[in-house]
């Protein structure tokens, strides 16, 4: 029993969907809690055990100073710190606001903006060292399990680093880009979702962030050939991972 990995789950600015994926592992959940101990997981447990923990999963982007402090504490109490989901990896959707002055954004939502202390949204590696990234909005459950197994075994788990196209082809989904000439982010986006969106007749939204060797400039040029306006292209690259170098290059390409 005492050999179980101690796991903690932290929440920063997020929708809680990534941590919900733990509870969405119904078929293996009981086996999972046989192998790991959710020592700190407020969504699922009332009681929590103090650190240190073996793995800390951090969900959400950092959007205020107080979160930086909590994040630093999390870093201290965890042997392996994992960015859980695209918000924690890249700033995620909350980072969309980074390209508009904070003042303007706040005033669109609140009347009395002097009470709001929000900062630009960043992924957690802006502030602490991160040992692993589980990409996706939300994270993929299979990858989550693979990651936990890998940690139990003491190895680097195999997470697909390449483009979504590879999984699209492996499953023989109709190509959204070539066939429908719709702007699909798949060629520059990290696989691991099983090419979910193309499998459902939809262009990839880029939710998993840049793939290995992503050539976003070239894809942006193709989008432009498909008739997208410059601002449409910018919006596509500044969505889930607009802060990354790769996607910035895509946004600036045309």
């Amino acid at each position: 029993m005492s050999t179980k990995l101690k796991v903690s789950v932290y929440k920063l600015s997020s929708c809680a969907g990534c941590q919900l994926e733990f509870l969405n592992l119904e078929p293996v959940l009981l086996d999972l809690v046989g192998a790991i101990e959710f020592s700190y997981f407020p969504m699922a447990r009332r009681r929590y055990e103090p650190g240190p923990y073996d793995i800390g999963f951090v969900e959400g982007a950092v959007t205020c100073g107080e979160e930086i402090e909590r994040l630093k504490k999390a870093r201290q109490e965890c042997r392996i710190l994992v960015a859980l989901g695209s918000c924690a990896c890249y700033g995620g959707l909350p980072s969309i606001k980074n390209w508009t002055p904070e003042r303007v954004i706040v005033s669109r939502v609140y009347e009395n903006s002097s009470l709001i202390h929000s900062i630009k949204a960043y992924g957690i590696d802006e502030y602490v060292q991160v040992d692993a990234y589980l990409k996706g909005c939300p994270v993929n459950k299979d990858e989550l399990v693979e990651f936990i197994k890998g940690t139990l075994l003491g190895i680097r788990p195999r997470l697909r680093p390449h483009s979504v196209c590879v999984e699209c082809k492996l499953n023989e989904y109709e190509c959204i880009s070539v066939i429908k000439r719709e702007p699909c982010m798949g060629p520059v986006t990290t696989a691991g979702c099983g090419a979910l969106c193309p499998s459902r007749g939809k262009a990839c939204d880029g939710c998993r962030g840049p793939a290995n060797d992503a050539n976003a400039e070239s894809l942006a040029r193709t989008f432009s050939e498909y008739g997208l306006h410059r601002s449409d292209i910018v919006r596509r690259f500044r969505k889930f991972a607009g802060l990354t170098q790769e996607f910035s290059r895509g946004a600036d390409a045309v």
Partner: protein
């Protein structure tokens, strides 16, 4: 003669983080604050300037527990703006999708939040030793709801298929049939869940809060209808802002929703069952009757029971919808964009959810207004607490804490989706 503070830090198991500060003097509450740690993510702020067709995918990320509700509400608000009238098939699929999320979310609430509280466990994981049957039932029901969401939408959290005027892909009919058999098989589990919730001992605690829910001619309202209340509200979605507003109150950190001229109100399963009991499915009605609790009930501790009754309804209704969907045909989902404003209200698992968008002639969003169920409820949560706390003041601290948490958890507040919460001077223990 007691003076003391009750602090409930980290309201565990409310999928977000909040804290409750209560200052008590001579047995009287002098201050009560439900503080929410969730920093604002400014969805309404950054939606401005995005394209209309991105909206469903973006607002989905407001809440990972009820993404479907945000998607459908956004889609319907935009359809309202463009004057799009989706087909019957689309409406049926949408309802099925919404119900799949009710099944998932209600199971999550009942078994993972409420039951451990009532049965005296710290979590469902801790319950596993003594109540394996219940735990297995929970996992089975939750998976069923999730699988239905996956079948229709592609994945459990942030599904991808629902779009304006239709779906990007349709589920294979054989698979719908297969899951229908599983739904039939799960009905007994849902009824058992009602029995279990009815057997829980709840405090006798009622007051005449205003209960608000959608009501529709087309059955137990999910995605359509007028917003009605136990105190006479009866409005269409586009009139929402003339009746429901938010204000900032000095003692609290959150914007408080109120009905103009009255005050706080409650949305969610209890309100829905109270207002729409006549439209429940046959087995849900039966289970409600058998529970021994009389509805309408104004005891917020009956909300878990109301959820369980809705669980039966959601499953039975899903079975019926699949019966109606015998042949799915790909449809033309074309439409044209029109500048203007659109409104929609749907019933998310936690209650009424309001979206409204102003779109310009380029299809860009000019303004977005989103009020989630938890944002609707937070004012009422404080009202409940204010009335309830005096009863627990003499209890040992731990017990009092748990009881207060239970009051909050009755609402199953999904703090992460409360796009309207303000964050002020956070003091952490």
């Amino acid at each position: 003669m007691t003076t003391g503070d009750i602090k409930v830090d980290y309201l565990a198991r409310v999928e977000g983080e909040g804290a409750l500060d209560i200052r008590v003097k001579d047995g009287e509450i002098v201050d009560l604050k439900l503080r929410i740690f969730e920093p604002p993510r400014f969805f309404q702020g950054f939606l401005v300037g995005r394209k209309y067709d991105e909206v469903p995918g973006i607002v989905s990320r407001i809440c990972g527990i009820c993404p479907v509700s945000h998607q459908i509400t956004a889609i319907q608000a935009l359809e309202d703006a463009f004057g799009v009238r989706p087909s019957l098939q689309t409406k049926r699929l949408r309802k099925l999708l919404a119900l799949s999320q009710w099944i998932q979310s209600h199971t999550l609430h009942i078994y993972m939040l409420a039951l451990p509280d009532f049965l005296g466990y710290e979590s469902i994981l801790a319950m596993a030793q003594d109540h394996m049957d219940a735990v297995k039932r929970a996992l089975k029901l939750k998976r069923l709801g999730n699988d239905l969401t996956v079948l229709l939408g592609g994945r459990e959290v942030h599904p991808v298929t629902a779009v304006i005027n239709g779906f990007t892909s349709l589920p294979p009919v054989e698979e719908l049939r297969a899951i229908q058999r599983r739904l039939e098989d799960a009905l007994d589990d849902a009824v058992e869940t009602v029995r279990l919730c009815a057997s829980l001992e709840v405090p006798d605690f009622s007051w005449d809060a205003e209960h608000v829910a959608l009501r529709s001619e087309e059955g137990y309202a999910v995605n359509e209808g007028r917003l009605v209340s136990t105190k006479g509200l009866d409005i269409p979605a586009w009139e929402y802002r003339s009746h429901i507003k938010e204000k900032q109150v000095p003692h609290s950190n959150a914007l408080h929703s109120y009905i103009v001229g009255r005050g706080s109100f409650l949305v969610g399963p209890l309100a829905r069952v109270n207002l729409n009991a006549d439209r429940l499915s046959p087995r849900a009605k039966e289970a409600m009757k058998a529970s021994g609790v009389r509805f309408p009930s104004f005891n917020p501790f009956h909300s878990a029971l109301a959820r369980a009754i809705e669980l039966v309804h959601a499953i039975e209704e899903s079975i019926r919808i699949i019966d109606d969907l015998d042949e799915l045909v790909p449809e033309d989902s074309g439409y044209s964009i029109k500048p203007g404003q659109g409104f929609a209200i749907t019933e998310a698992p936690r209650g009424a959810l309001y979206h409204s968008y102003k779109v310009n002639d380029q299809g860009l969003i000019e303004a977005a207004d989103i009020v989630s169920p938890t944002a609707h409820n937070v004012n009422n949560m404080e009202e409940d607490l204010r009335r309830f706390v005096p009863r627990v003041l003499d209890l040992p601290h731990d017990e009092a804490t748990l009881k207060c948490e239970m009051v909050v958890r009755n609402y199953d507040p999904c703090i992460s989706c409360s796009v309207h919460f303000l964050k002020l001077n956070i003091v952490r223990e």
